[in-house]
Amino acid sequence: MDLNRINWKKAFITAGIPLIILAVLVFFPMYGWDYGVTLFTHFLMFVILSVAWTIFSGTTGYISLATAAFFGIGIYASALLYPAAGDRYPLYVVVLIGGAVSFVLAFIVGAITLRLKGIYFAMFTFGLVLLFKEIIYWYEITVEGRRGRLVALEANDTVYYYLLVIMALTILVAYLIKRSKYGLALQSIGENEEAAAHMGVNITMVKVLTYAVSAAFMGAVGVVMATKWTYVDPGVAFSPMMSFSPVLMAIFGGFGSIYGPVIGAVIFSYIEEILKTGDWSKYYMLIFGSILVATILFLPSGLVGLIQNVWRRVMERRRASA
């Protein structure tokens, strides 16, 4: 009897709350709150990036700093296939292509580099972002004689709904992976890779495929964001900030659960929005950097971890006094 009630509660938390939030997100643009749509577009972008980052890096402990590389590839897929002037493919096709190209690239990068140990992998992936930036700058300036490109502008609502669908898919995939035996395998790789291999886990395949899946979402989101920004150049597309922000958000929220990166991304992109639009815009990066350092020093398991700890303590005290 008691068991049944607990299961209902659990089902509500895992499926009910996300569905209610999703329903609110689906309907609210219809009330014509334009600023809200822009703000939430921003949230959605970072939620996708940080959840996608967590799918691979959060569980395995391999810190990937290539988020900006895959995001940028999506942006450039838009720039080439969905330009402001000239022939263009339907947007959903471009989104699929952007995702697919990022998937393939991550697969190749992963296959070459995922045997590198921790910090080398981080260095390699970070270098990838800078390499893409430099080469495309060089190509645009030296070969084509231009700087940057224009992407066809999409309506705010279109961008919003595209991102909403991608976000729902990202979270669903993250959840399904976490629940499946591959989630267990990823966790075991994070704990002790050698032992995982000897227990029958094909570690290379699990790592490379998961990495590629997470990159596909990053690419897809890049495609959509380009149609909002319209002017893109390598500096916009391959900005190191896009690599570090999702990591910070995931750590800040806590990447032990899927809620963590979602909460971290929403809080952070909101802070960013306030700081960037107010008088504080000059100090945005300074504050961002300070929060990053403080989070690593004082919030190692993230907000969600902190709340869980406090909750556990409260419950224990209650039990003790009862």
């Binding site: 035996k181 966790q187 075991s188």
Partner: protein, 239 residues
């Protein structure tokens, strides 16, 4: 045909030859002991069998099939699993998940989630850890962590299991329990190769013993023969 057979296995690290031209075999149902001083190449031999390392020369055959040079996960799925000298459990995963992982990935029959959970619980029962199934593995004592490793190795449904110093660091009572566990594993029809420094255990449990020294096989025989062998007493037991 032997279950597992090694032919002239050799590997060196830099200038040091860790294992040199070692021949060995194990038959189905046997408990084979592997002894020798520290640095004799025992764990290196395990690493060669379980494919952590690839031999520089020589071959390993399992049930007549050449398995030299394949990946660790393939070795595991073929039916050879192992434990580690220094425990390599997944500390933040529950005891049950540690074992379930091996059942899900190591067993070539590809069990469903429910079957894997059932098999894992069965093995926790076998090693006596059912009560700890739900807690993170890092919270257990060393002796119990070693039991997790045993349950995990068995969850892959191996025909052969490699036990690397199962009894190191255990107290007398725990050693006796561990010896009992080794026999029980054999009774399940699983063949065993074990590395051990605890002489009482090795002499009591093993059917046959191989002695390594400086990477070379220097003796082989029944526990009785090994105990009486002059050369073994000189390099090892006589210390």
């Amino acid at each position: 045909m032997h279950l597992l057979e090694g032919n002239k296995l050799t590997i060196n690290f830099g200038g040091l030859t860790a294992v040199s031209e070692v021949d060995f075999y194990v038959d189905k149902g046997e408990i084979l002991g592997l002894i020798g001083p520290n640095g004799a190449g025992k764990t290196t031999l395990f690493n060669l069998i379980s494919a952590t390392l690839t031999p520089k020369s020589g071959t390993i055959t399992f049930k007549g099939r050449n398995i030299t040079g394949i990946k660790p996960y393939q070795i595991c799925r073929l039916g050879i699993s192992r434990t580690f000298q220094t425990v390599k459990i997944f500390g933040n995963m529950t005891v049950l998940d540690n074992v379930r992982l091996a059942a899900l990935f190591g067993d070539c029959k590809k069990p469903s989630e429910a079957e894997a959970t059932k098999a894992a619980m069965g093995l926790l029962e076998f090693v006596g850890l059912v009560g700890s199934a739900g807690i993170p593995a890092r919270g257990l004592t060393l002796a119990n962590q070693k039991r997790i490793e045993v349950a995990r190795a068995l969850a892959a449904q191996p025909e052969l299991v490699l036990l690397d110093e199962l009894m190191a660091g255990l107290n007398q009572t725990e050693i006796i329990e561990a010896m009992d566990l080794v026999r029980k594993i054999r009774d399940r029809g699983v063949t065993i190769i074990m590395i051990e420094h605890v002489m009482k255990a090795i002499m009591n449990v093993c059917d046959r013993i191989i002695v390594l020294n400086y990477g070379k096989k220097i003796a082989e025989g029944t526990p009785q023969e090994i105990a009486n062998s002059k050369i073994v007493v000189e390099v090892y037991l006589g210390e």
